[in-house]
């Protein structure tokens, strides 16, 4: 696998219902898990699987993406024989920007054609997982599949929105639905596809020639009969994050030591952009239970069942409960917040009482002062 798979993280029309959290940023760079951005999980998985060339097909609102990824050095992707390529839409016609992903793949076909790698893995950014793509490729080759789709079987309903998948006894996919479909199945697609690069290029060109420009709906759905499309079952932790409710629920799910150990360490580490924050400081009189705390925090008050990002200051007498507080948040003394999601740099002044509901968390946009 080491030198034979090209990575593609496809952000084109990535469905997002995260309200204010994606007002100024794309879904890929929504902060998650106390110190990460959503894209870190799939990008680190690719790197951990030996994939050393990764293209990120950016689409809109990608300033934060460029800032976060930089040269790719935090993921070890800035070497002579590796690389991170951020590819925004290559068109000067504003209407073309809204066309489907296959159109943009075609615009960037040089990226594929210049590479001498045989396979390509295409993913989205909103699947929070830690996956070994080497195993997926081995499965793909063993099955003699044309396309392998990474799927997850789940007993409970997923918090986020995902396509349901049905397959036969051999694991061959017989039906895939759109996100809003009502098909009965306990298997969902993780929107990760492995195929030969030449097959992808063929699908791109034939679909576009027929006036179709969506990878999944047109190139794959409509060819389930003609192509061998197999489901690879992923066993690890999965969080589908594309709605505000799933964002909240999946952050809270990290407050389980088993999930923490699995998602962040198995099979490999998750990388992110470093920040040089000092260690977190727990002052006298602070009280923290069942929470994730990042470096650079200063905790003087009480934190319960919460996810606290880097550089947050919880003042004396403040109570943060069941909440997610992003980078550099400030909770003033005597204030309390429950069921809240505070975007970066939100300031809650002293003696405020803020309450959302578990099903409908209170959301404060970036830099808001309350």
């Amino acid at each position: 696998m080491k030198h034979n798979v090209l990575g593609v993280i496809n952000l084109i029309h990535e469905s997002d219902e995260l309200e204010a959290l994606t007002q100024g940023r794309c879904l890929a760079t929504v902060p998650f898990g106390a110190r990460y951005r959503l894209i870190d999980f799939v990008l680190s998985s690719m790197v951990g699987s030996g994939i050393s060339k990764v293209a990120v097909f950016a689409h809109t609102k990608y300033r934060s993406l460029m800032d976060h990824l930089g040269s790719g050095k935090h993921w070890d992707l800035q070497h002579r024989q590796s690389g991170l390529f951020i590819l925004p839409p290559a068109t000067d016609n504003i209407q073309e920007i809204s066309r489907g992903d296959l159109y943009h793949f075609y615009q960037h076909r040089d990226y594929f054609n210049r590479s001498n790698l045989d396979y390509v893995v295409i993913t989205r950014s909103h699947m929070v997982c830690n996956i070994d793509f080497e195993k997926v490729l081995a499965f793909h080759v063993e099955k003699g599949a044309d396309i392998t789709v990474v799927c997850k079987q789940h007993d409970e309903e997923l918090a986020g929105k995902a396509r349901k998948v049905k397959m036969d006894e051999d694991g061959r996919i017989t039906a895939i639905q759109d996100h809003y479909g009502r098909m009965l199945s306990d298997v969902s697609s993780m929107e990760m596809y492995i195929m030969r690069k030449d097959l992808l290029m063929e699908l791109v060109e034939t679909s576009l020639a027929q006036g179709q420009d969506h990878l999944v709906r047109h190139a794959i759905f409509s060819r389930l009969d003609a192509l061998n499309v197999y489901a690879y079952m992923y066993e690890g932790y999965l969080g589908v994050v594309n709605t505000l409710a799933s964002y909240y629920a999946n952050n809270k799910r990290l407050l389980d030591p088993d999930v923490w150990r699995q998602l962040f360490y198995q099979p490999g580490p998750i990388f992110t952009k470093g920040k040089d924050e000092p260690p977190a400081r727990y002052c006298e009189g602070s009280s923290v239970t069942n929470s994730l705390i990042a470096n650079g925090c200063r905790i003087e008050g009480t934190v319960i069942n919460s996810v606290i990002f880097r550089g947050v200051h919880v003042e004396r007498g403040a109570v943060v409960k069941d909440s997610i507080v992003m980078q550099n948040g400030h909770i003033g003394s005597g204030s309390s917040i429950q069921y809240g999601i505070l975007d970066k740099d939100v300031v809650i002044e002293s003696n405020r009482d803020i309450r959302g509901a578990e099903s409908l968390p209170f959301l404060a946009a970036k830099r808001k002062v309350i």
Partner: protein, 388 residues
Amino acid sequence: MGRKEMVAMLLAGGEGKRLGVLTKDLAKPAVYFGGKYRIIDFTLSNCAHSGIDTVGVLTQYQPLELNRYLGIGTPWGLDRRDGGMAILPPFVKQKGGVWYKGTANAIYQNMGFIERYDPEYVLIISGDHIYKMDYDLMLQHHKRSRADVTIAGIQVDWKEASRFGVMHVDDEDRITAFEEKPKNPTSNIASMGVYIFTWKALQKYLIYDEGNRNSTHDFGKDLIPAMMRDGLRLHSYPFKGYWKDVGTIESLWEANMDLLDDSSPLNLHDPSWRIYSVSPNRPAQFVSETAELSSSIVTEGCMLQGKIDSSVLFYGVTAERGSIIKESVVMPNVVIGAGAQIYRAIIGEGAVIQAGVVIGDPDDDAITVVAVEQYVTSDHDLLEVEQP
């Protein structure tokens, strides 16, 4: 090769004998400090914030871990096309090679490195001290006083003064006398081991000192006294702020405990003077339902289920249920078993303290040290250091 106004030479070959088991396989500058740093991060970050982009790091004792850590200097912004960081170990020359015989000799052997940059000034620092200092302010001071040498000085407790080189200065900060580790100090201005030399003067004295058979080739013992004797202009740069030599178990423990003081002048949270280090890249720390934390600093990657009070925890530490950690420094990836109790200890990287083991005594001032990767099943065989 572009000219540089000032080149820094960082002495990092120290063995750190008095740190005992903590420096068995590790040079002193690479010893962990402050929850996520190594001692050398402080001087390297000072260089970064002082606008110094050319740093020679002189290594000798156990350099493997230190070299691996420093890499090409990326975390400190020293991966430069022009200048940057260079690791300078002793090397073999045509007439054979020798180890660095002293601090001055180490610089003497690397005069070739300095000459490549044709600098006006040379900053000599060491990787053994914890402090935040703007060397550029010191350079301005050096230029203003037209000195040949400027030595950073800090006022220390009189009872400590005999551990340092002490200086007498006149009203204009000119040094009138310099004594290396005097038995009965008559001044309490201690040399911090931070020197700015005008390169021409340093060059001359390095060559002179090398030819002196009676010299121990040390800056404090030989070079500075020789310059004093010859009437060169030696000035002191008065430094105010936190500075600590962490050469002993007690001082290393104390300096870590100093960080827990909210009013400590060594503010690690200052965004304008970040201390840079190699990021361990671990997930956020997990504070479980059974954990109790107070007056402590903790780094990412820790899984905390015990009671932690007045302690410094490095990354990746696991403190299991019912464990107690008090007034201790716990280095990376240590596992503290269920119900284990740690009082006033320094636990080396990767050590495992088995469930129920008690280390140290809550009613005793002695500091207990657990070696790197030691597996402790009982409280025998541990190094205890009496508090002075």
